[in-house]
Amino acid sequence: MSKRILVIDDESVVRRSFVLALENSGYLVDTASSGEMGIERMEGTKYDLIFLDLNMPGLNGVETLRELRERDKDVPVYIQTAFHAAFADQLRQAAEDGMDFEILKKPLSLRQIADITKEILEEAKITE
């Protein structure tokens, strides 16, 4: 069974980048343009990996994570953000509230998206 990936991001540019990057990866990629739509997608589909944007209008990244975790405690969630102190506080609060997540840098090139996704989902790819 192919692994399923969900990309939640309000920017079409980002969603399309992920789709293009993972085109020939063998994974099935679904996208959602908002936190609310992302949650909807999860009803009835079990995902193996979720990429989640931090700053979205409406339900923002952390709030979406909260809702998401109520439905699936184990799926790896990678929150996409620039590595900047400004966002640290919200994220730290989320972690202290007991939610698990990892961080993914933004922006990423197609190759980086492809490599990292593969490394997360499969056996290790050693980069030298």
Binding site: F83, A95, E102, I116, A124
Partner: protein
Amino acid sequence: MMGNTMYQIRLYIVDATKSSTKAVQELEALLEDKLKGQYSLKIIDVLTEPELAEADKILATPTVIKTAPAPETRIIGDLSDSEKVLAGLGLEEPS
């Protein structure tokens, strides 16, 4: 050969999460078992020191970087697979 080299390892995580605590424990156990003290492990919280992560060109957590001995290697993702981590650190078990 392996007895005298100090391994320099940096681990980038999101410190406050439960999964990272688990990851740190597993890595430390692995390192202690295989390297028996011949290593220095530096743990960096990406939320507290994002500029270090930026400087080290970290793309995702968790990332393990081995800077010594050369060459530098990086591992991203699931660290519970000990074979994968060992291979990543250049510490394959001779088969």
